[in-house]
């Protein structure tokens, strides 16, 4: 072990470069993962953030928030089904907003404050009171448009403006700046933006439900669908996958991340295999003076582990720096789970690589250390 450490200490340039290279590779994958996770949260945050287990859609809506329509009168019936702890309502509308003279795209989420589906990560301000209308809780992405707590936002040309009374995190719909308004406000705005919907009556597009403990989405969902006859209840995860583009996006990014993990892992292995192979001469000498294979193996492993751990830390640090430098329009999210699995993978692959070359090294003949003639 001491020998292995001495080599690192004395060959700082070389090991520094090795650690740097590992660091860059790790940085790559961390950033990829963070971008993927960021896009996911930005796209599906609106559904993810709600404290709900499942969503009820109209069966002809086919899991599309936009195509689904449920009369509000059905709420009571859903609430009455066994296993339903709480039920809320959701509606979404893509519109143009104006604030302080600027126009921008906006997603308007209608919901029932205090019930399942409302955005859970409140960071500032407050939520709407039970009968309050024309107030909104805004996702922090609105701050990119220069909007803050207390500002007024006009949704479409002529409707009454909504006042921002609270800010939430991770509650965006399809990467658009998103505001959450009480359902009544949503209905009013919807009629203005999509006049063709005027004849529909008080509706929502989906009912998020929170289940009682020890119940399953499958069983309660089936019960709901049977009771109402016009609905399809799906788990929150399935609902998220049914959001436009999410499935494709997730598949694409999963493919990217898997391939990146594999490529990076193998490259790290090849790396350490190469480095270990290069030390043939040194190993011959050590064997000649009596080092056992086990001694050499330990050394090589220790070095691989140290280099990969240090490299990982470097890569992690770099990725955080990059996140700070990115414009806020690029969604980025560093999830601990991803970071940890990459950490484990990096170390494992480094060790594997070092060991791979070792088979060759075991075969090194210590007699090769003797110079001169045979």
């Amino acid at each position: 072990m001491k020998l292995a450490l001495a080599e690192i200490r004395r060959r700082r340039g070389r090991w520094g470069s090795i650690i740097g290279a590992v660091g860059f590779i790790v940085f790559l994958v961390l950033v990829l993962a963070a971008l993927a996770d960021g896009l996911f949260i930005g796209t599906a945050g609106a559904l993810q953030t709600g404290d709900s287990d499942a969503l009820v859609y109209s069966s002809d809506g086919r899991r599309s928030l936009v195509r689904s329509e449920l009369p509000l009168s059905d709420l009571a019936e859903v609430a009455a089904v066994d296993g339903v702890a709480d039920v809320g309502a959701l509606g979404v509308l893509l519109a143009t907003a104006t604030a302080g003279g600027d126009s921008f795209d906006i997603a308007v989420m209608g919901h029932i404050p205090g019930h399942a589906g409302e955005p859970t990560q409140l960071v500032e301000g407050r939520r709407p009171a039970p009968d309050e209308q024309f107030v909104a809780v805004a996702d922090v992405s609105l701050q990119d448009q220069g909007i803050s707590l207390g500002d007024s936002v006009t949704l479409t040309d002529s409707s009454q403006p909504v006042v921002i009374i609270g800010l939430v995190e991770n509650a965006q719909y399809l990467l658009a700046p998103t505001v959450w308004v009480p359902l009544g406000t949503w209905q009013a705005v919807r009629i203005e933006v999509r006049p063709e919907t005027i004849g529909r009556g008080p509706v929502a597009q989906a009912f998020p439900i929170l289940l009682e403990p020890d119940t399953t989405v499958a069983s309660v969902g089936a019960a709901i669908d049977e009771a109402l006859g016009t609905t399809e209840t799906v788990s929150k995860d399935e609902a998220i996958l049914s959001l436009p583009g999410v499935d494709q996006q997730q598949s694409t990014f999963t493919a990217i991340i898997v391939v990146s993990f594999v490529v990076v892992g193998v490259v790290i292995s090849l790396f350490f295999a190469l480095i270990t192979l290069e030390k043939r001469g040194q190993f011959a000498i050590l064997k000649a003076i009596g080092s056992s294979n086990r001694f050499l193996l330990q050394g090589v492993l220790v070095q691989a582990i140290i280099a990969t751990v240090a490299g990982y830390v470097v890569g992690w640090g770099l990725s955080r720096l990059l996140a700070l430098a990115l414009p806020s329009s690029v969604p980025v999210e560093f999830l601990t789970g991803t970071a940890l699995s990459l950490f484990a993978a990096t170390i494992l692959m480094g060790a594997v690589g070092a060991l791979f070359s070792f088979r060759r090294i075991i075969r090194i003949d210590p007699a090769a250390a003797l110079g001169g003639e045979a």
Binding site: L3, I285, G290, S291, F295, E373
Partner: protein, 231 residues
Amino acid sequence: MNAMTVNDVTKVYGEGHTRVRALCDASLELHDNEFLALLGPSGSGKTTLLSVIGGLLAPTSGTVTIGNTLLTDLSKKDQTRFRANRVGFVFQGFNLVPFLTARENMTVMASISDAGSDEIGQRADQLLDELGLSDRSDNLPEQLSGGERQRVAIGRALVTDPDLILVDEPTASLDTELGTQVVKLLASEIKSRGKAGIMVTHDLRMVEYTDRTVEILDGELQPAEKMPLNE
């Protein structure tokens, strides 16, 4: 009991046309506290014989006994262990570890052999002193002269207090004065510590510091054994 015995050792490389006989029925006895010179020209097989004696090479036939251990009978792993603890090797190319200081090149034997680090450390310091390297002990090989590196290599060979010292062409890359110094040093270390050693060389001038000379030519040990000029 001899310090070391070589019994009918033959070493053959290759097959058919490419068959090369590096050693042929070589037999040799090394007595206790004896410093033997193995003399021969290039290609005579002297380094091969040394490698076989040290357990670096397995002979095609024949045996090697060191002390009361039948070296050729041991497994590769045990041979390696034996080498670490009981044999000291000084290579022709010194073969120091480039990123270890002079002292560390010796104390590394603590990790390799079974000896304790305190023991090795003490002996290393003592050897550094005896070899005149005390103020160079923290230098890396690249900062040492050829003679200094050679002395570090000798120190490394002695630090585990082995029973047998094997030295391969110690004067090859040194001038006459330095070379003589080194061989004298080797002789005194070996004799004063009661060890036995074999020095492979082609330099006739060095044999006066040895107890006995054995010649080797084309893989065969020559029958005539010259008596030493001194001792």
